[in-house]
Symmetry: C2
Subunit: 78 residues, 2 copies
């Protein structure tokens, strides 16, 4: 898979899923912590939503990671 050409929504979605699983959270659990709808998390993880900064912040906080860490993977390094 060519990471450099993958859509940013997909990259973010995969990163959310990766971190969520590391924390052993369900989509429902993450949704609760981030105060968003369960089905919205599904959409985000599957790259179907063009999320805004404020939602990103809530997800990242709920995943208990810094913004820097969230984007510190090879997928985001181009």
């Amino acid at each position: 898979m060519d990471l450099s050409r993958m859509d940013i929504k997909l990259k973010v979605g995969q990163r959310v899923r990766e971190l969520r699983k590391q924390r052993e959270l369900s989509q429902e659990g993450l949704a609760y912590k981030a105060e968003v709808d369960r089905t919205y998390v599904t959409d985000i993880e599957n790259g179907r939503r063009n999320v805004s900064l404020e939602i990103m912040e809530r997800l990242i906080n709920a995943l208990d990671v810094s913004i820097t860490e969230f984007f510190n993977t090879k997928e985001f390094r181009k």
Copy 2:
């Protein structure tokens, strides 16, 4: 200034401005490269807009920096 409590929109706005000035671009020049509206860049830099991922990607590309690097500052490390 307490960086940890500063809103993500303000942090992003400041980072855009910082990188834009390093590149010696005007807001208009950046807007042109990122294919967004001139007035929208003003609002973003001043932390008034809740930008989406796709617009973020366009701005970051226009600033010629990776996503990882964009968020790799102490403001985003919490």
